[in-house]
């Protein structure tokens, strides 16, 4: 064997010492949300016996993030917001990244992880970009976001989301005339009690995951000839 083995292994049992071994640690892994067993419960509700009988999966997402089921009005507004947040196109990074993974031949699991990463990064970016404004909403302020829609279709879609949520009882007219779809969605989720970064990133990622992946699955591995390789163009400038 050509590998250098010099100095390797003393033969002694080395696993009995070291900072990990010589300190007491808990013997069990704590669980706080889903109880184990033959009738698993989510925050106390039986997944099959209670939740599956009377609630939508989006209610379950709300429960997972808040610890409580939504009221009927909140359930409707949350479902509308999820539908709005699911409608990302291949122009958006999550689906675009998924297409690239698919073209490269990534396994389904790897491509789900790739799309989830892009979706979560997009959501985290939105949270950070709107952090001050979202904090204001949580503190009761109702002022329009300073960032307004540039793309006319985004402005129209934003107004449609706000109007649809308004018809479901979630008043968002205070957002003014020029919000982006993203800011309407962020405001709605914050008003629904999902305004932490953890909740927003989880919801926004979950909402667009399957639609973005569906866009990726529409491609075949190796279908490179149909992908616009120079969009956008890169210019080498060392």
């Amino acid at each position: 064997m050509s590998h250098d083995q010099a100095g390797k292994g003393s033969g002694a049992d080395l696993s009995a010492s070291g900072p990990v071994r010589e300190r007491p640690w808990p013997e069990k892994l704590p669980a706080y949300v889903v109880s184990p067993g033959d009738d698993p419960r989510i925050f106390g509700y039986s997944a099959l016996g209670d939740l599956a009988q009377a609630h939508s999966f989006s209610d379950g997402l709300f429960l997972s993030l808040t610890g409580e089921l939504p009221s009927p009005a909140a359930s409707r507004a949350f479902a509308i917001t999820l539908w709005a947040a699911s409608a990302l196109t291949v122009a958006d990074a999550p689906a675009h990244a998924g297409v690239l993974g698919r073209l490269s031949g990534a396994t389904p699991a790897a491509n789900v992880a790739l799309v989830a990463t892009a979706a979560a990064e997009r959501a985290q970016y939105l949270c950070e970009r709107h952090a001050g404004w979202l904090a204001g909403i949580r503190n009761g302020e109702r002022t329009p976001c300073t960032q307004t829609a540039i793309d006319p279709s985004d402005a129209v879609f934003a107004r449609r989301i706000a109007r649809t949520l308004g018809s479901a009882g979630l008043a968002l007219e205070w957002l003014g005339e020029g919000p982006t779809a993203d800011t309407v969605i962020l405001a709605a989720l914050t008003l629904l009690g999902l305004g932490t970064d953890e909740s927003l990133v989880t919801v926004l990622t979950a909402a667009c995951l399957t639609t973005s992946l569906a866009e990726a699955w529409a491609w075949k591995p190796g279908q490179f000839q149909d992908y616009p390789m120079d969009l956008p163009p890169f210019r080498y400038q060392p």
Partner: protein
């Protein structure tokens, strides 16, 4: 139809594919770099855009060896084991890199540790490192910042990697370089006045700053130089693919959450009990 103003060209410094050779940060791959770069210097070039001398590259090699703590029970590395338990290597490697995307632990915090050294350096500029005025400035910075990256050693009295890296720096005769000297003085004040020890992030930061590496590059470079411990765990974890990490036994779980409850107005159970 795509409008021209929507697709501005993106500048890139990192690469361009030619027919017979390729560009990388202004260098020709086969003409300029091949045969002259180590893995560590190639990684440093990739991140910083600058080439490093052979001795600098050797220092980076020693840094990578110094931080090779591959203990699979360390949290980000445990994440590798949990994910690679399904038999694949790269998802495990990615799991740890995701866990490294943190302002808490892991090599990426070297960026903030470097920023702290630079910031303290500006405060103490011109002061004698052994003076009370120097110590007061260090303490003032640490108290104003609250939690300063590069300090604090969990679950053991001191970070053995700092001592090892100090030996590396001395062997390469870099101990009198500005940032390493400054860092040693800061660490002494932190130990004596704040009862807190420096950790490897601060030591790595000082070493990299003396190589002319910007703080924003120090974290990514530290992550890149740690990939060997990630692959070590991912390769072994994927080969073992242990069932116990795919699902722990229920007896190992301690449920502390909300107790059973029913929906208002619902019967105790809407589906038959099969037991």
């Amino acid at each position: 139809m795509t409008r021209d103003r929507d697709v501005e060209p993106l500048p890139t410094r990192v690469g361009h594919a030619h027919w017979d050779d390729h560009e990388h940060h202004g260098f020709r791959l086969y003409r300029d770099l091949l045969g002259h770069e180590s893995v560590a210097s190639l990684i440093a070039l990739a991140i910083t855009g600058h080439r490093f001398s052979r001795d600098d590259a050797a220092l980076l090699d020693d840094l990578a060896t110094t931080v090779t703590v591959a203990e699979p029970r360390i949290w980000p590395l445990k994440a590798i084991r949990v994910v690679s338990a399904f038999g694949r290597v790269l998802p495990g490697v990615l799991a740890a890199n995701f866990a490294f995307e943190s302002r808490f632990i892991g090599p990426l915090v070297t960026t903030e540790a470097a920023q702290a050294i630079v910031a303290i350096g500006k405060r103490v500029s011109g002061l004698d490192p052994s003076s009370d005025a120097f110590a007061d400035q260090v303490v003032s910075y640490m108290e104003a910042e609250g939690r300063v990256m590069g300090f604090g050693v969990p679950f053991r009295p001191r970070d053995e990697r700092v001592a090892a890296l100090r030996g590396v720096v001395e062997r390469h005769q870099r101990e009198r370089r500005p940032y390493w000297s400054l860092a040693e003085a800061i660490w002494r004040v932190a130990r004596e006045r704040k009862k807190v020890e420096a950790n490897i992030s601060s030591a790595t930061a000082a070493l990299l700053l003396d190589l002319g590496i910007e703080p924003e590059h120090a974290g990514p470079l530290s992550v890149a130089l740690s990939q060997n411990i990630l692959f070590a765990n991912a390769v072994e974890g994927a080969r073992q693919a242990p069932a116990i990490l795919r699902r722990l036994p229920e007896s190992a779980i301690d449920y502390r959450g909300r107790g059973p409850r029913s929906l208002p107005g619902a019967p105790a159970s809407a589906i038959p009990d099969d037991r």
